[in-house]
């Protein structure tokens, strides 16, 4: 959260100055932004503080995000409908549209609960880029487990390891837990308040897990822990302005 946000804030401040033609108002706005971002990064250190900041952000974004969530949910559900239906006449597409609106109205707060939509495209690109890495990881883990099972001595050393994660939201916890389970040799047993309990088959697998490479990868894809969006800082700036 630390460096990324400051660099982004400075960049954005220059942008505001350029757009506002260096006027008094633009200068004020840029100063506010930089002030808030510096305050925001220096004041949020622990996980609980980060979660408090997240609540603050969520309340600031709620009215704006509700409609956006609804529309995005609608499009995802409609795409899923077309995939299922495979009929492209007006009658079935209209039915699909009505059904998607209905379900999106019922579930608009389920699919995108506490996900920031700031730069959806970046996240999608990173997700696609991370795919081959995960495949490679799963492949090598497969080979290792096959070696363990086939060698006559069977040199396994089962153990349960626990570690605290730096990820912050439930969806990233579940993403990490499921990628750990998907990799042969390790299974996530439980998550308690951000603490993972993982069963590992032998020492090498446990060591690989403890390096935290997979966690870093997930944090990179979901843009958490070390990243915060400039939009968040702008929201906080408006809250600070209202409080003043």
């Amino acid at each position: 959260m630390e460096v990324t946000v400051l660099v982004q804030a400075i960049y954005k401040a220059f942008e505001i100055l350029e757009k506002g033609k260096n006027s008094e108002k633009a200068r004020e706005e840029a100063r506010d932004l930089l002030y808030t971002s510096a305050k925001f990064t220096s004041e949020t250190k622990s996980l609980t503080e980060k979660q408090e900041a997240r609540v603050l952000l969520a309340s600031a974004k709620k009215p704006r995000l509700a409609l956006r969530n609804f529309i995005l949910t609608f499009f995802i559900l409609f795409a899923f409908w077309i995939l299922l239906s495979g009929r492209f006449d007006y009658f079935h597409l209209t039915l699909g549209g009505i059904c998607s609106i209905l379900v999106a109205y019922l579930c608009h707060d389920l699919l995108f609960f506490n996900i920031r939509l700031g730069d959806f495209r970046t996240r999608a690109r990173r997700f696609l880029q991370a795919g081959p890495w995960f495949m490679g990881q799963i492949f090598s883990a497969n080979l290792h487990v096959a070696y363990l099972a086939l060698s006559p001595k069977m040199p396994i050393d089962p153990q349960i390891i626990r570690f605290n994660t730096k990820l912050e939201s439930d969806i990233s916890w579940v993403g990490l837990a499921n990628s750990i389970t998907l990799t042969p040799g390790t299974i996530t047993i439980d998550i308690r308040e951000g603490e993972f309990f993982v069963h590992a088959l032998d020492r090498k697998v446990a060591y690989d897990l403890n390096t935290g490479e997979m966690e870093d990868k997930i944090a990179h894809v979901i843009m958490e822990a070390d990243h915060v969006y400039i939009q968040d800082v702008l929201d906080v700036a408006s809250i600070f302005g209202a409080l003043k």
């Binding site: 949910t73 559900l77 899923f80 409908w81 299922l84 239906s85 009929r87 079935h92 039915l95 699909g96 059904c99 998607s100 209905l102 379900v103 999106a104 019922l106 579930c107 389920l110 699919l111 609960f113 439930d170 969806i171 916890w173 579940v174 837990a177 499921n178 996530t188 439980d190 998550i191």
Partner: protein
């Protein structure tokens, strides 16, 4: 009484899955006259999605989304659609659920009127089945204690 699940994986995965289960259920209902499926099957899937939500997010949260009153209304509303279409055919001079007669109102050929009539009946069946499935599960999970009973127990002097 079912409380919110303390397993974060179950909770999150079900939260993401519920919208897709619901759209799949509606797909099964709407394509019942073209492909396998229909009102009952789709209604059961739709009811199962609400039940999944209830199991993972607890009774209180599920009540906010779908109350017992709403479910009761839905179950009768679905039945109304079904019997309404049936009686409409009867009024137009055919047998009960003789969809071909609907062509005079819908201004289409009888074959298409049959297709649309079946679709309407299936929507009615789906709504009813969904509501009844959910309310049965609701009754089991509350142990048959209605909200007004609870209030009465809380305020009585005995």
């Amino acid at each position: 009484m079912i409380n919110i699940s303390d397993d974060i994986i179950t909770r999150t995965v079900s939260r993401v899955l519920v919208p897709f289960i619901q759209i799949y259920a509606l797909y099964v209902i709407m394509h019942g006259h073209h492909s396998p499926g229909g009102g009952f099957q789709g209604g059961v899937i739709l009811g199962a999605s609400f039940i999944l939500y209830l199991i993972t997010h607890g009774l209180e949260d599920a009540k906010k989304r779908m109350s017992e009153l709403k479910m009761g209304l839905f179950s009768t509303f679905g039945l109304l659609i079904y019997s309404g279409i049936g009686l409409l055919c009867l009024i137009l001079g055919g047998n009960y659920l003789d969809y071909g007669r609907l062509s005079t109102i819908l201004k289409v050929i009888p074959a298409q009127a049959r297709s649309l009539g079946i679709l309407g009946v299936e929507i009615g069946v789906g709504i009813t089945v969904m509501a009844v499935m959910f309310s049965i599960f609701f009754d089991i999970s509350t142990g048959g204690v209605l909200p007004e009973d609870e209030e009465g127990l809380g305020t009585s002097d005995e």
